[in-house]
Subunit: 351 residues, 2 copies
Amino acid sequence: MYRSMATSRELTDRKADILRALVRQYIRTGEPVGSEILASAAGLKVSSATIRNELAALEELGFLKQPHTSAGRVPTELAYRYYVDLLPARSKLRETERRAIIHFFDEALADVDAILRGTTQLLSRLTRYASLALAPSQRETAIIRAELILLGTTTLLLVVFDTGHVEKRVIDVDPHVSERNLDRVSRTMTETFRGNTLDQAQTLAEERERSAESESERNVFGRVAESLRSMGETSEAEHIFLGGVANIASEAGFDRRETMSQIFEALERESAVLGLLREAAASPLVSVTIGRENPVPEMWETSLVAAPFAAGAAVGTIGVVGPMRMDYASAIAAVRAVAERLTAAVEALSR
Amino acid sequence: MYRSMATSRELTDRKADILRALVRQYIRTGEPVGSEILASAAGLKVSSATIRNELAALEELGFLKQPHTSAGRVPTELAYRYYVDLLPARSKLRETERRAIIHFFDEALADVDAILRGTTQLLSRLTRYASLALAPSQRETAIIRAELILLGTTTLLLVVFDTGHVEKRVIDVDPHVSERNLDRVSRTMTETFRGNTLDQAQTLAEERERSAESESERNVFGRVAESLRSMGETSEAEHIFLGGVANIASEAGFDRRETMSQIFEALERESAVLGLLREAAASPLVSVTIGRENPVPEMWETSLVAAPFAAGAAVGTIGVVGPMRMDYASAIAAVRAVAERLTAAVEALSR
DNA sequence: TCTAGCACTCTGCCCCGGAGAGTGCTAAAT
DNA sequence: ATTTAGCACTCTCCGGGGCAGAGTGCTAGA
């Protein structure tokens, strides 16, 4: 469902029940869970002694561990994985949260960037975890317009995509080119590039450079090709949004200050986050990455719940980052609901 | 110099020397400073007993306090203020840092937003504190172009400013308007708005709405006026950049997790940060806000070092946020140097 | 196969006392 | 009149001992 699971070892029903109850309890309280508490939990109609035996077995199987001999049990990553994999496919969102999401997307929405910025804040408010958003890659979306605009002595290249996204680069073209000429070039570019992706447009610009009739035209298209390449390279990195990082600081799970600082660093490092979010975009559903499943070592004490959203042909990702004992059910429900609404909102912009 | 000072009470030279030495020492170590250490500090040729007397006097004057009776002294905010006010007007930057700054601004710079994003990272690396940047307000810069672009069924309003900044809004115009018509309107808008500020353009659009010849023209200019207003309102809030927040987590000064979380929250809250940075833009020099001088209560345990940078007629701000015992000399030097280079870089974009 | 009972282990906490750091005060020295 | 040396005093920090509580594993009986 959420991710291929490594836990094919079978569990008896009772073990599974106990494990689920324990994980749920630990997520709720953050305290190691003892057999007595589990015995009094509804649904388990066996004594604490029996549960103790089962707990020992579950520990043997690698699902649980004890902080020390006389403490209760704490779930391992394997237990979280098991718990998440067996979570009901669609848990319902609380009504207030559903409302908040609808309300957010009802508001006047300026453009994709503004929506995503707002979405991270929304997700953080809903889940009380830090949240991330990766804007849809401009790589696969179609250019709808390209213009050169004179800015004093430099020139601005503006590329508008059909998602409403705009990329811009300052380029140095021959300063003697008149504004009228720039307008002409702009019209040519828009006609030429329209409907193409960045990569395609770059090729077209290079062709144009070679077949140019005048020196200045060669110059212009050369610079444009260069800028288009640079957009393809960097545009993504610049469109990761981060929200609610305060939640990481207030999270009790991250006690050592060093841990916390590392998490922040990783979240701010685009190269780290980009890979994560791209990967999440590959699966069509909500994906959950628990602890060391994360390729970024600084995030081995966190879990990530992420879901893709569609923007035409392109795909972006949103997600939340919390402690391993995060409330997966709520987080998954929130991320899924927001991703769905977000897809609709983004489509509405361009359709 | 940095800010009008409330400390007009005179200090004897010796008291001043001792106070400065103590603050410097405390900034270095973070430990309460005792009389013995100060006595052995170069430059003070008196015994620890004498210093003890002076320390008692300085405490009486409100410059120092003791965590407890048998501890050394710790500076109060008043002491930091005094220390900062008497800092040499221009302390020199270390060569490696100067290099890093020059190197950063030598790189190819895409546009103002990208520069600012990079600048926060640069400042954080240089100072090891969190950093902020407020983009120049679009309120006072001139519009250079305005266009309507058809995006499926919706329409994108694009406004380009002479700083190279681009604002965009999705607006709903009459869906029957042809693309050719939109182009015509775009040309009219650019001609009409060019050289004007957002506010002025809004007025012009409203006039145009009233004097419109056709129903659809009235519709279009009405929507445009509305969007221009919304740009004026929200564009600023969306252009605060934040970098190096990991430094706050690793900062030893912020020990209580609650403190930390509050600081993060405040930094993420645009309304809080915006006022601060705007204020800093008012003074032409580096401004330092220490502890409770900050109007944002969550930041009463922090200090802010900020400086404006010019972008044509408009002014933006950059700054760093650290603990009250931050290394003011280095921070001020770094912020000033970056602000200067930044001004040059931004001017280069549009001049 | 489950459960009741029990001995055992380990943490968390409090209290205590000693070491150390730094002070304020006093009395002598400059 | 100011500075300095000396000293008693205060307070924190830290390690050790002891006690209460939580939770376990095991054994013996149901």
